[in-house]
């Protein structure tokens, strides 16, 4: 008994259905469109939402980049890339500017995305109001009525308790002045990149069975109070120990020998590109 898999794993009917949900998501920026999320050959929570979007969109001409936590080489990124190339045979790249589809977990690349590119973000928990309201039926009503007190209250509580907004990653954002969305666990540092992005940004949550989107040139505003502005992670006076980059998201490293802390670009392909330019020039 031997069976061949279809191009891009799914049967064509399934792909079409996911694309329909995606179109709806693009038409209603920030709105979580339910879809019949399929079980995938990788585990729920490992990027099945993003993977389904990518597989439903990918064509033979596409060039794919997959990153996890900023790295093209991370275990999960490699795994996803392997599955997609195995079932499509398309080209992969590490270079952000070369890719037509970029699937990512927890980061938006440092190199600005361009018109025509699609960024697919993997989402573990799509509901920004879940902390405030455990029931799905209730949060659905809250979105419908544009009642977002719960999201603000969460931030207010953080300020009361810790003196600052202490969302790590996944700081909620208002999309097109209508829907509050969970931007997936990207660091606050990447939130501003969602605003007026030239590329189409799609977000897929496989386990929670939701797709949502930030179409190109859409207003995305991180929630903040009048007297507590939204702040990105600070890497003041810090720079990448390899390429010297400043004002990028840095990984904190510990030197085994000296015990000293040093920093490196979290976006490894960006770092590499800078190193190569330096050595060429």
């Amino acid at each position: 008994m031997r069976i061949e898999y279809n191009f891009a794993f799914f049967d064509e009917g399934s792909k079409r259905e996911i694309r329909r949900a995606t179109l709806k998501a693009v038409a209603i920026p920030g709105y979580q469109v339910p879809f019949a999320s399929r079980e995938m050959p990788i585990a729920r929570g490992w990027g099945t939402g993003g993977l389904q979007l990518t597989l439903s969109l990918v064509g033979k001409e596409d060039i794919l980049k997959v990153i996890d936590q900023g790295s093209d080489e991370s275990v999960n990124a490699v795994n996803i890339k392997k599955l997609i190339t195995k079932t499509t045979g398309i080209k992969v790249t590490d270079e952000t500017s070369e890719a037509t589809i970029i699937q990512s977990r927890h980061r938006i690349p440092e190199i600005p995305l361009q018109a025509g590119q699609i960024l697919v973000l993997q989402v573990p928990l799509p509901e920004p109001l879940r902390y405030y309201e455990p029931s799905e039926l209730e949060t659905k009503k809250l979105h419908a009525e544009q009642e977002y007190s719960g999201a603000w209250l969460m931030l207010f509580e953080q300020i009361m308790n810790y003196g600052t907004m202490s969302t790590g990653a996944d700081h909620p954002a208002m999309v097109h002045d209508r829907y509050v969305m969970a931007p997936s666990p990207i660091p606050r540092f990447d939130n501003p990149k969602l605003n007026h992005s030239q590329a189409l940004i799609l977000l897929g949550a496989g386990r929670e069975k939701k797709v949502y989107a930030v179409p190109p040139y859409t207003r995305v505003e991180s929630l903040a109070f009048e007297d507590f502005s939204f702040e990105v992670e600070g890497f003041k006076n810090k720079y990448c120990g390899l390429c010297g980059a400043k004002e990028v998201f840095l990984d904190e490293m510990l030197d085994d020998l000296t015990g000293e802390t040093f920093y490196q670009c979290n976006d490894t392909s960006y770092c590499l590109q800078r190193l190569n330019q330096k050595s060429a020039g």
């Binding site: 339910p34 275990v75 490699v78 810790y162 790590g168 540092f189 386990r207 992670e233 904190e252 050595s279």
Partner: protein, 364 residues
């Protein structure tokens, strides 16, 4: 010459995958599907039920590949299932048409058609049978021959494919409410995600493909304390059901045009729950309400637990988590729960760095 990325990741993964294969093969034995199909009936039934894919052969393959882990085997089958287009829906199956292999009722000693114990572990002592160590294929064939002879003498006369349902007896007496047949097209949870409040067809589908352990645990919780239901098994039957699909070419959906495409083995359970009802004359009466469970293969505990949860979710008592449909239905799926728990093994460097930044800010 430029810099290149460290390809450590790829290599490490490949080594890990090799290691997995090594563990499967290191003792030098290769399991045959036939051996799994022949000797691991219960595991196959469990895996088919949780995968909601009925194929013993594919289940056996998945079990081999998964080295016997049901969680992993279900995962493989579900992923495979995603590549299959749904081309037909079968005609409605009537469980009266079951060719019954086992049938018990704990409500009545004498049921029309009789109790049939069939295959079950229930009546064995759970003592490890050390003789199995010496069992040979020759012994097996010998035993089978004798068993066939023995059965030949005592030939059962009953028609096992037309046994009446035990509950019909109670229904005729007016002890359980009668309902019109509901012929609405069921919702298909594989085509459209759950929306709350759910329909009963959605609930039954999620329950039947639930992880055996999870369904059992929640059913047990409802039985033991949360709702303290104590049902009686009206009828538990196991056997094969014939499946037909309508002819795709005929507009008229006549019985005789339908195609027989095979049979599936299922466990079906109807449990009875006493409940108070208010009658027209102002008096209260006790009636029985029904919980329904059905699973692929022989999965008796799961099917009974399913029938309990079906009843819980119909009642929807807000006091108990076991009666809360979001609580039950969103947390019993094997692929979803094991996947999300295992994702904690993925690196969370960026999120952790971001949290670290917040934590440091709060310390200032």
């Amino acid at each position: 010459m430029g810099y290149v990325a460290v390809k450590g990741g790829i290599q490490a993964i490949e080594e890990s995958i090799k290691r997995l294969k090594y563990e499967r093969l290191k003792k030098g034995t290769v399991l045959k599907f036939q051996q799994i199909e022949g000797g691991m009936r219960c595991l196959i039934d469990q895996v088919m039920s949780e995968s909601s894919l009925y194929s013993e052969t594919l289940a056996a393959m998945a079990i081999k590949q998964a080295e016997g882990s049901p969680e992993e085997a279900v995962f493989l089958l579900r992923a495979y299932r995603s590549t299959l287009p749904r081309k037909h829906y079968s005609r409605t199956v009537q469980s009266e048409d079951m060719s019954v292999e086992r049938r018990i009722s704990s409500s009545f000693k004498e049921i029309p058609g009789g109790q049939i114990l069939g295959t079950a572990n229930d009546y064995t002592h759970r003592l490890i049978d050390f003789d199995l160590n010496e069992e040979t294929e020759h012994d097996a064939l010998e035993w089978l021959r004798e068993y066939a002879l023995e059965r030949g003498v005592d030939n059962d006369q009953a028609d096992l494919s037309n046994l009446p349902k035990t509950l019909d007896y109670l229904r005729e007496e007016g002890l359980i409410p009668t309902f019109e047949i509901n012929s609405d097209e069921p919702d298909d949870v594989t085509k459209e995600s759950l929306h709350f409040p759910t329909s009963r067809s959605q609930r039954l589908q999620i329950l039947t493909r639930g992880q055996t352990g999870a369904v059992t645990s929640l059913g047990y919780a409802a039985l033991r304390s949360y709702g303290a239901l104590h049902p009686t098994v009206g009828e538990l039957r196991i056997g094969k059901l014939p499946i037909y699909v309508d002819s795709p070419f005929q507009d008229q959906k006549e019985d005789e045009d339908a195609y027989y495409i095979g049979e599936i083995k299922v466990t079906e359970v109807e449990t009875l729950f006493p409940a108070e009802v208010q009658k027209g004359n102002g008096e209260k009466e006790i009636e029985f309400e029904i919980g329904y469970g059905i699973c692929y293969g022989q999965n008796e505990t799961k099917a009974i637990a399913m029938s309990i949860l079906d009843r819980c979710l119909e009642t929807a008592n807000p006091e108990y988590p076991t009666h809360n449909e979001e609580f039950v239905l969103l947390h019993i799926d094997s692929v979803e729960s094991t996947g999300f728990i295992s994702h904690l093994k993925l690196p969370h460097y960026v999120t952790f760095q971001s949290k670290l930044d917040s934590v440091r800010k709060t310390k200032k």
